[in-house]
């Protein structure tokens, strides 16, 4: 670990108030959520979740576990893989959320193109309820027991060290409504001496106002630590990711003042948190 990194880490620890750690982040992703900062990421799950293709080619496999709002009966387990050849990127994944009698399974696919300075991708997720009561509406009609959504994402290097992105993960949906309404999210990140600052804005959804997010990540060669905050209501989170050789592991905790904490764990092969 370099001395400069230690200095920045110490500075960050001073700058980040303890109160921020008590704040929480709302879940802005769902079935293939990963412990990563927002924006384009190297993990396969993040590609399926947002439609933002990873910059690098190559293959990756990752698994993630999420406990939503501290509820043991509302857990998401997902596994995803991705591959890239030249500019093409593809990813596929499978996820299960909840318990057998009150949960759903999902499969996700994503494809896109990426270059060092930009990328765009399409993503699709299909869900099906795990328990279908015989004789119910779900048993007789497909649209009552299954749902699908299609969306897209794109990112671009707007300037040196400045990256902007837009993700509309639910441009079209059919059947059973998705568990979370995910409107258009626009974001940007700026890198400076190992620090990455980001801002995001999610468009108004339904009757809710737009919400905004901000965060900072500190990165070294093998570690990334980040803190984040969102508004409406004000909440925050922290995360830590590390990689060694081709393996990576990441964890993030986000809390909501009313709904409780959401914990995410990810581990994988071939990818990274960013």
């Amino acid at each position: 670990m370099r001395p400069a990194w230690i200095t920045r880490m110490a500075g960050l620890a001073v700058l980040v108030p303890i109160a921020l750690l008590a704040l929480a982040v709302r879940a802005v992703s769902q079935d293939f959520t990963c412990a990563t900062p927002p924006g384009p990421a190297a993990s396969a799950g993040a590609f399926i979740e947002s439609g933002l293709p990873p910059r690098g080619a190559g293959s990756a496999l990752d698994a993630s576990y999420t406990r939503w709002f501290g509820l043991p009966e509302l857990e998401t387990r997902a596994v995803a893989c991705r591959a890239g050849w030249r500019q093409a990127r593809v990813a596929a994944g499978f996820s299960q959320t909840g318990e057998t009698d009150l949960g759903w399974s999902a499969i996700g696919l994503a494809c896109g193109v990426a270059r060092p300075t930009g990328g765009a991708g399409l993503r699709a997720v299909a869900r099906r309820e795990r328990a279908i009561e015989p004789g119910s509406a779900a048993a007789s009609r497909l649209e009552a027991r299954a749902g699908a959504e299609v969306g897209w994402g794109a990112w671009l290097e707007a300037a040196r060290r400045l990256r902007l992105w837009a993700a509309a993960p639910q441009s079209w949906s059919a059947g059973v409504a998705p568990p979370l309404d995910r409107p258009l999210e626009v974001g940007g990140e700026f890198e400076c001496d190992g620090l990455t600052f980001w801002l995001t804005r999610s468009a108004p959804s339904g009757g809710a106002e737009a919400d905004h997010g901000a965060g900072v990540a500190l990165r070294s060669e093998a570690l990334i630590a980040w803190v984040s905050a969102r508004d409406r209501p004000l909440r925050g989170g922290v995360g830590l990711a590390g990689s060694a050789r081709r393996f990576f592991v990441a964890a993030a905790v986000e809390s909501h003042p009313e709904l409780g904490e959401t914990v995410r764990l990810s581990l994988g092969l071939g990818g990274a948190a960013r």
Binding site: V113, R115, T117, G118, G119, A120, W152, A154, W155, L156, E157, A158, L164, W165, A166, A168, Q170, S171, W172, S173, A177, P178, D181, P183, L184, V186, R201, A203, P204, S205, G206, G207, A210
Partner: protein, 483 residues
Amino acid sequence: MNRAPPPVAVNAARRRTRWGTALPALVIVATALLAALFSTAAGAQTTPDSTGYAEPPPEATAGADYEVESADSLAEGAIELGMGASGRAGAKPRQTRRVRFNDRTLGGSVREGEADPLAGGSIETGALAGRVGVGRIAPRWGRGLLLGAAAEPWSAAASDRGARAPFYGRAGRGAWYRLGEDGAVETLYGRFAKRDLMGGRARIGPFGFGALADHAGQTQASLSFCPGRTEHELALDRAGRWRAEAMLERSAGSRTLAARVRGGTRDLRSLAEPLRSGPARSLALELRDDARWGRVRAQAALWHFAPGRGGARAALEARRRFNQHESVAIGFEERHGTPRESGRIPGFRQGAWGEWRGEAAGLVLALRHEVLGAERLGRAAVRTVTAAQAELEGPAGSGLRITHCVYRVRSGESLYLIETASDRVILRAVSGTGRRTRVELRAPGAGGHINAVLEIQGVTGALSSEATRPRWTLDWTRRALSR
């Protein structure tokens, strides 16, 4: 339920009334000052329309889609064929067909299609040492007091009137004849605003004289004076009603200062385009800098239709260009009163918008956000729009473009989203809260180009209705040289 106007709107109405009574003196003083200020001249230019808030012209039905033909020129000897179909899921498709051609002596276009607002034909050819044509007519005389007025009180020139306009508008239908370069002599006969009109205009040097008359004996005349960049027009009728407008421009390097002042009788309404008669009195200033790095434009305008009915607008827009595709733009706008002669008075509005567009190796990403509020700093938003667009260039001229926007429009307000089709521009009216995705795919095919568009609208979980059903368009266009 009607809401009481906010205090700011009431104060603005009071200010409008005071300004309305003092306007004649203001117009005279302003005219004298401007005449003294501007001593140089060069052709009055059409300033590119702002990329700010899109509004249809006053003759369009409020709250409905508006379509206008793009002024895409055809090379000499070329012929263009187009076929299309469009519809909604679960509804019968609508077919459209079009032909355009341009030969040395003969040119024209024919469009047909069920419920196509642009259906119709026009043809023109050389005759009697000039050009004669039948079909769509959208001329512009002088400052447009009788023919070819701008749609908004603050606009310097109409974007859909006149030979060099970026869009082919439709003021009327009929026949016309032009003689000489740029129409030194022009006559027309046609149906405008449910009225048969005939008219003519002649230009000698900087002077122009025109007249319009209908079968009922109503006559209007236009006198214009256009020495270079200044442009003045006086319009009057047999009852002695009149309007006059002067436009002056002065440039220094990349900067241009333009001013317009209009005065006259409120009751004078254009026979041809009564809904575009505009305000009886107005004053507008514009400063723009078209530098190599980008453009800055500042506008201020005041106008007055009638007592208690007028408005004001101030706008600032700056665009920084990085290269052909990359740019950043921001804009600010404040409005008072109303830009329309009739209808609801919106009152105070203030808003801002920002747009970024970047490009990297065949991928274009654009982001835009705009807000317009009924209170200062865009608060009490009456409409908010966030949009993102990604465009991928493929081989052989193919490409994929996806546009997604999320909007929220307060009840009673209108929002128009701009859609560009292969042969037209559509201002799509939306209301309420929703999101919209438009996927456009273009590819070479059958000797031409195929454009396929899919539009998906609605809110997740919203009940299905006709408005939320996917809309699709398929269009094929081919251009070829006829010889």
